[in-house]
Amino acid sequence: MNSADGLNDLLPYVRVGDAFQAGVDWSREHLSALFDGIAAAVDSLVEPLASLLTAPPAIVMVLIFAGLGWWLRGWKFGLGTALGLGLVAGMPIWEQTMSTLALVLVSSGLALLLAIPVGIFIAENPRASAVVRPVLDLMQTMPAFVYLIPAIFFFGVGVVPGALATVVFSMPPGVRLTELGLRQVDREVVEAGEAFGASPWKILLRTKLPLALPTIMTGVNQVIMLALSMVVIAGMVGAGGLGEVITTALFRAQVGAGFEGGVAVVILAVVLDRLTDSIGARTAAAKAQRAMQQA
């Protein structure tokens, strides 16, 4: 035994992993009812949505998406949507794409349901913000795979652990951008609300949130993009969809199938990104900003 080993012996053995394991075990034992409830709830959202999206023939759905794109962004984007999704349908991995879309919509919806109220809360309470921010940093930098492990422990294999790992992974930008948007609202405009006797609640609903909406919509966009990237990884725990296509291709070394899955993810990402972006641009506050730039 040399001296270096002797020095290393001075370091205590910190059992972080054991502690976390113990925490997970305890939760599993005592909170199983809660987890079952969550699992049932998520399941009841994802499955019907996936069946709804895959119920009509692929060609009808492609046209519906193209029409949506046309309405929100113009005919060029509508045409692009038709071509892109048409390609996906032709590959053909349409059903997997739609089940991924269902998973993305449900998990980002849940993520936003948590993220926006938390964002509002920490925008109003600087102290809470100081606590929440490092937690957000942790959530964002933790390797995405790590979320899958406890998720399997709690929920087994399937759609639910994938969805919940996605919720945790995609939430931070939703919180951050909600907070940022609210903090950016002109202090004097808020003060004017106070000076005319508006309640804090009314100022939040009628002034702050509408003015923060473009920034919050950027957050929504980011959440959806992160959810999409995580959903593919979630294929490893049996969440199905494009994740399954890609992981299967990975394990079987099928280059072509993997590429097809990747292309479908990219197309889905572009369509979702542009659609949410144009919804953000349609808010009153965004219009007001543009009016200001023109003036």
């Binding site: 004097e188 004017a192 000076a195 006797g197 508006a198 309640s199 009153a284 506050a285 009016a291 200001m292």
Partner: protein, 444 residues
Amino acid sequence: METVSALRVKSLYKVYGNRADKAMELLRDGAHQDEKLAGLPVTAAVVDANFEVKRGEIFVVMGLSGSGKSTLIRMLNGLLAPTHGTVEVDGVDITKLKPAALRKLRREKISMVFQHFALQPHRSVLDNAGYALEVAGLPRDERREKALQALRMVGLDGWADKLPQELSGGMRQRVGLARALAAGTDIMLMDEAFSALDPLIRREVQDQLLELQAELGKTIVFITHDLNEAMRLGDRIAVMRAGRIVQIGTAEEILTDPSNDYVAQFVADVDRTRILTASAVMERPLGVVDVNSGPRVAARVLRETQTSAVYITGRDKRFVGTVTADEAAQAVRDGKQNLQEIVSTEYVRTVADDTPVADIFAACAESPAPVAVVDAAGRLAGVIPRVTLLSALGSLSTDISENTATPEPADVTGAAPAANVTAAPEVPVQVNAQAPVRLTGGPA
């Protein structure tokens, strides 16, 4: 109701920082802010403010940035809680109100106009103007009607459907004004309301405010760092420095009798010809004759006073006109018994007693005899000989340090130099040489 002031502020303090209580004690013991507080991590924004604002008055708080005026105005409607002291609105101490009661008071009694307008960019001009009414829970139609009415008052009813960003700065602030007017409160707080506007627009909006004020008679607390604006708008002015109110008075009192060097320096470069009115520079008329006297009386007075015209007054000292030496002599020769027949309003010019000095120059130049000054009731209040006007100006434009070294008489600025030149009347050129006169009235 008239006995209670609209606003009453008693020993009001606002100290920012962790050791505010300790600092308060020191300040109340009379510590000067800069000395004893130096060791404490505090900022005393407002120190021992005491004043009352009467109903229907424009009360201007003037000071440089950092003098605490914005903090002060925000304590008047409870946006900031004072460290110590009371603020009474219609006799109610608002520092003791609960948040909900405070909001009710703001809705019903105090509205506010902001420096950078603080309009809601995502809502139309009409919605902005009706904001206070929306907060108060008025039904939509009624709200829109009142908001439109307020927009009409500021001349913007044609812009109701625009977004604030589509309007110019001056128009936006008129929307801010309309919003405060639509609220229908008796008290309006205006925080540097016109400071963000360029000078010409600012002048326009000031005029509009004065017009509206003449009609509506609101109680207005107006914050500004611009002395000319303060002088133009304020019925009374409070000058603030480093958190303390150093002087409260009318524009004229502050100009002619600054309470200390700070105020004196502040007012040094104001354009006084805009502030001083005819009544501040006028003199007692030498020859005044009742209209019912005969021409002989007029002729005698003219001889005694060695002037070119006498001022004729009727009942209640109302100014009727003038009679010149020639006219009087002619009337005596013609055997006329009454001045009524020969009195004329052609010979001298007449100005109202509240006319700014800057606007008297033309009348003075055209009038061969001293200009007659009449009050609101038409009575002869005084006269302004050309010499008096010029020498008054001379003393106005001299360096302020001289003025503070040898205090001017409190009643009439320029009275002393005017007395000096009576030895050589009708020689304005000489006066000109003594004291450089800016006939243009200086920077407007």
